[in-house]
């Protein structure tokens, strides 16, 4: 439970720390509707479902869960629950099954492993125009 709470409080802060290595801004699109397994330095494991419209559900292996809002701000992936906010460095697109070590604004270290990710998508469909 401690880590669950900590994660919710921290997640809005930690995802922000990754410096973008690409010119293209990351939006977290690859995580929408996907689940990421997160293992902390002390071995605690959580999973976070990143809802497609901004609601994150954090759960642990005892069945406890908590909700937060998640969003991308600059080069951080953030989670907010009430007044608690934690962001994680987010500099590269996540890849399915690929573990990435991240640090949070609450000085937490954790390994993030997305179970799956969404394919890249074009932000606009420019050639269709707008029917007006």
């Amino acid at each position: 439970m401690r880590h669950l709470t900590l994660l919710v409080a921290a997640s809005a802060a930690t995802l922000a720390l990754a410096a973008p290595a690409q010119a293209q801004a990351l939006s977290g699109e690859e995580l929408r509707g996907q689940t990421v397994d997160i293992t902390f330095a002390d071995g605690t494991r959580n999973s976070v479902f990143f809802g497609s419209t901004g609601m994150a559900t954090v759960s642990n292996n005892t069945g406890q869960s908590a909700n937060a809002n998640w969003f991308v701000q600059g080069d951080q992936l953030c989670m907010r629950a009430g007044s608690a906010n934690e962001c994680w460095n987010y500099s590269n697109r996540f890849a399915a099954g690929q573990a990435v070590r991240l640090t949070s604004t609450c000085d937490q270290n954790a390994v993030w492993t997305p179970r799956n990710v969404n394919a890249p998508r074009q932000m606009v469909a420019p050639q269709a125009g707008e029917r007006g």
Binding site: T53, G54, N118, M123, A125, G129, E130, R131, G132
Partner: protein, 400 residues
């Protein structure tokens, strides 16, 4: 009861499958009327809530469909088992009246035999009016006589069709979402199933109807270009440019580009064979510069889709005063775009300069549903709306 409803829904789906959608707006599998971009579908239907949320208590049926379903059940319970005799026309009847017409109406409304318009009959008339989209009251006027003579199947069919439409939408519509109803040309901003704001919109003309869609609002564009779909350029603007020449182009701010989007380069309009463009022999990318008169106004709200349907500001604000607002080529024009922007950006509109086409992402995508609801429960009432796109016409008769 349930079998009856399933039949109604199946009948409607079969009827819709026979309708030929406009080729430019044709979508989906030809059976469903709902268009969803391929990439948005999993995000809307499975991606909003964690796996297993349904087992954990999240309803499979969205709250709109639940309301529709309850309304249909209530409607059938009240009105489906009454003698549907055709009633003769006559003057308006009010409480206190008596005679043979009152006797026939009592039977039609399922009341005890009698010849007097008593309190029981007044209450029954009040309920009938509430549940058939009529104004409140206890008089039996021409409108109520027409509703009685249409019979319950007419209304049940419309309700079932609307229920089927609501059931096509995700089981969970979203914590926050935008609902546009084409039948009333209204937009609602909804939070936790509560409407927090409503505004008028202008929707597509009957010949260019706005499609029924679901998508995800992802960003707004401030000081936008209007990128004219090539088929509209062919059908409308090429001829205007032929007739109006450079004066027209200068007045309207149109320019020709080699493509839409950030990499567009302007092409001299004199290089375009406008007659060939009008004949559809060459495709032209026409866009209108930002500023006064731009068809998109000061901002457009994007839920990227291949149909070219978006929400946007408009310079033609006088059209919002009309009762029926079907004037666009398919897009949805907003009465108060700034208020939608404030809501989408959580109370703080982005600060943008004067540069054209400034794209500002939303913090997270917001679902948008563009529906067509000709019946809608409103508390104890059921509102039956005008079928402005004639989509309720030509449905097969129900075997009751």
């Amino acid at each position: 009861m349930k079998l009856f409803r399933q039949f109604l829904i199946a009948t409607w789906i079969a009827a819709f499958a026979m309708m030929a959608p406009s080729p430019a707006l044709a979508a989906g599998d030809g059976v469903s009327s709902l268009y969803v971009e391929e990439g948005d579908s999993p995000l809307l239907y499975e991606g909003q809530m964690p796996p297993g949320a349904a087992e954990a208590g999240t309803p499979v049926q969205n709250h709109l469909a639940q309301q529709m379903s309850a309304a249909l059940d209530r409607y059938l319970t009240e009105w489906s088992n009454l003698p549907e005799v055709n009633l003769p026309a006559g003057s308006t009847l009010r409480p206190g009246a008596s005679g043979s017409r009152v006797e026939a109406l009592r039977m039609r409304l399922g009341l005890a035999a009698g010849t007097g318009f008593d309190q029981d009959m007044a209450e029954r008339v009040r309920l009938f009016r509430q549940m058939h989209g009529l104004s409140d009251g206890t008089s039996i006027d021409r409108g109520m006589m027409a509703a009685l003579n249409r019979g319950h199947a007419h209304y049940a069919q419309i309700l079932a069709r609307n229920l089927a439409h609501a059931e096509e939408l995700p089981g969970f519509l979203g914590h926050r979402y935008v609902m546009v109803d084409l039948a009333t040309q209204q937009l609602q901003m909804v939070e936790n199933d509560q409407v927090v704001d409503t505004m008028r919109v202008v929707a597509g003309k009957p010949e260019t109807p706005t499609p029924i869609m679901a998508g995800l609002l992802r960003h707004a564009v401030f000081n936008p270009y209007w990128n004219v779909p090539p088929d509209l350029t062919q059908a409308t603007y090429a001829r205007r440019i032929i007739n109006g020449g450079n004066a027209y182009l200068s007045r309207t701010g149109f320019q020709v580009v080699d493509q839409f989007g950030p990499d567009a380069s302007v092409i001299p309009t004199g290089d375009v064979d406008w007659r060939a463009a009008a004949r559809g022999e060459t495709q032209v990318f026409l866009r209108q510069r930002p500023g006064a008169g731009n068809g998109m106004g000061d901002m457009k709200f994007m839920f990227p889709n291949a149909l070219g349907i978006y929400l946007h500001d408009t310079p033609s604000t006088h059209l919002f005063a009309e009762n029926t607002r079907l004037f666009s080529a398919g897009c949805v024009r907003l009465e108060r775009p700034e208020d939608l922007g404030l809501w989408l950006y959580n109370g703080m509109m982005p600060e943008v300069g004067s540069a054209p086409e400034q794209i500002v992402p939303l913090q997270f995508p917001v679902p948008i549903y563009i529906g067509y609801f000709t019946a809608m429960p409103e508390g104890d009432r059921i509102a039956f709306r005008e079928d402005v796109y004639s989509r309720d016409v030509g449905l097969p008769e129900l075997a009751l």
